[in-house]
Amino acid sequence: MPTTTPPPGKAALTGTPFADVTASATTLRRFLHGLPGVDTVGLEARAAALGTRSIKTTAKAYAIDLAISMIDLTTLEGADTAGKVRALGAKAVHPDPTDRTTPKTAAVCVYPDMVATAKEAVADSGVKVASVATAFPAGRAALAVKLADVRDAVAAGADEIDMVIDRGAFLAGDFMKVYEEIVAVKEASGQARLKVIFETGELSTYDNIRRASWIGMLAGADFIKTSTGKVGVNATPANTLLMLEAVRDFRAQTGVQVGVKPAGGIRTSKDALKFLVLVNETAGADWLDNHWFRFGASSLLNDLLMQRQKLATGRYSGPDYVTVD
């Protein structure tokens, strides 16, 4: 269930152990390097072990519906057309037109110039419109340009903003720059919820993913998100587990709850269910809601729908019975 939290940001951290962490580049660096190192073997073994759970019958039906309701149905292609975005919006509202009991997806995720079209397509269905911004996916633009990108998307009606961090600055050790950029984007986003994409595939080490997670949370991210889906390595159970541990620890120490969004590479229902197990076993049941956990995916939805049809009818379904996106 969504719990109400104080608005994140610097103010929220007053009185917590992290009030002074972001005072200067030095304190931030000291804090991030003081985070416990990640036990790579242990992390991967834990993620793999949690992936072996067998989820069947009613639990599976529940998990499939939950997973559908958590999807940020995404199209981020240069070839996106208004028509394609409208089709995506229609699919988000009625994922399976043959079965109206199918839950809606959480959001559609598009480029900023498609936000208005997407907004129109989902209308007042309750499906949110998320927009990538800040020179997605590379993030290689001046801060002013990135902020203009964000304001544009918000002005067009985006409910959520998916930003990318400056991986170059992060890898060069300029953590403060990364932090300040997130703070600035958070401010520019206004009421829109902010998802911060780390592009874990480019961060090289699990330690870096942990540090990036903490920078994001300290800067007031509403969600931390693994990847853009545009590089070779996207969401994996291990890097998502690591980020779930970070949001769990952050809430334990500050009372502020932050969401997690694995994105890219999750294509089958089986994978999605594994992620849900990770969420429940790591962060806890509070995160088992689309306000706090999302899947960034497109082809995943079709597989979930086919599994749902199989559970409903007892017959294996096929790609002929879902849309071609």
Binding site: Q309, R315, Y316, P319
Partner: protein
């Protein structure tokens, strides 16, 4: 250095037998059953031969996914290329002749010479179907005379993913007689091997894997025929089913299940039940899993003005 230490067997010493683990053939790979189950396969006299995988419906589902994935490439290959590949299968079968003679003799209780005749007939059957790939279009397709300024052309196209329930008695000749026409026509197949004699079918998988047939074009499952056939008959992503190896009860249940998505069904033929695959097969099995596409192409003068392309 003694001979034993080189891995040779000394005269008089009994050699440890190297038993073969028969596995499924799905998507070009040789997995065990997802369920981990096996069952005992015996020869015609009840003597144990090997353990074969007892596939589950999940294996069947995986096989359909593999077959669907392979369909685009296989149906899109030129008919001539398909023919070459199928001929290559026949070459590989010939090279494994001794093995198949032994397996067929064990499975069907035939003498060695009779089994050899069956294997020869099987290889010939395969070659025969290989030759048909680039000829069937001319036989069942063609240009149709129509009363209008159109070229009207009918061409046969493969149906899609086809489930083949292999004959129960004729474990090798029967098997090839039902599988070869399905893939020669450009379909991909999920084959349920004979329940009591699955070994030749599983070995055929090894032949297919080494003869340029893309993975997933033929997928071989062994196990309980009813357990595998029912979910496959109901499967919405299977386009056709050949009931050759189903008994009357099972065939009825499968036809009912298959009606749901209007699968093309080939009922057991008289020749299947007699287990007599030695007679010349004709093109019936080739054409069953072909769909005729007809196109109208405008030609000649258009309208009263007499304009033309």
């Amino acid at each position: 250095m003694s001979k034993e230490s080189l891995g040779g067997s000394a005269a008089g010493a009994t050699r440890l037998s190297v038993l073969k683990t028969y596995k499924l053939y799905v998507g070009g790979k040789f997995p065990r059953s997802e369920s981990g189950r096996v069952y005992e396969v015996t020869d015609s006299k009840g003597k144990w031969l090997a353990n074969a995988p007892l596939s589950s419906r999940k294996d069947a589902r995986d096989a359909v996914v593999a077959a669907r994935k392979a369909f685009g490439g296989w149906s899109g290959a030129t008919a001539y290329n398909r023919g070459q590949i199928l001929y290559r299968v026949a070459e590989m079968l010939e090279g494994r002749r001794e093995q198949f003679v032994r397996e067929v003799a064990d499975a069907e209780g035939l003498s060695k010479s009779k089994a050899a005749a069956v294997v020869d007939a099987t290889v010939d059957r395969w070659v025969w179907y290989a030759g048909w790939t680039d000829k069937i279009t001319q036989v069942v397709g063609g240009a149709n005379p129509v009363a209008g300024p159109f070229f009207n052309l009918s061409t046969p196209e493969p149906t899609g993913v086809v489930t083949v329930i292999a004959p129960q008695e004729s474990s090798f000749l029967g098997l090839v007689s039902v599988v070869a026409p399905v893939i020669a026509a450009g379909n991909t197949a999920v084959v349920i091997a004979s329940e009591k004699a699955p070994l030749p079918a599983l070995s055929l998988g090894e032949v297919l894997a080494t003869s340029d047939v893309p993975g997933g074009v033929v997928n071989v499952l062994s196990g309980n025929t009813r357990e595998l056939a029912l979910p496959l008959a109901a499967h919405q992503d299977v386009n056709g089913i050949d009931l050759a190896g189903a008994d009357a009860d099972l065939a009825k249940d499968l036809e009912i299940a298959a009606a749901d998505n209007l699968k093309r069904v080939l009922r057991p033929q008289a020749v299947d039940t007699d287990a007599d695959f030695t007679t010349p097969p004709g093109t019936h099995r080739l054409t069953t899993f072909l769909e005729t596409k007809t196109v109208w192409h405008p030609t000649g003068s258009l309208g009263a003005s007499g304009g033309s392309y």
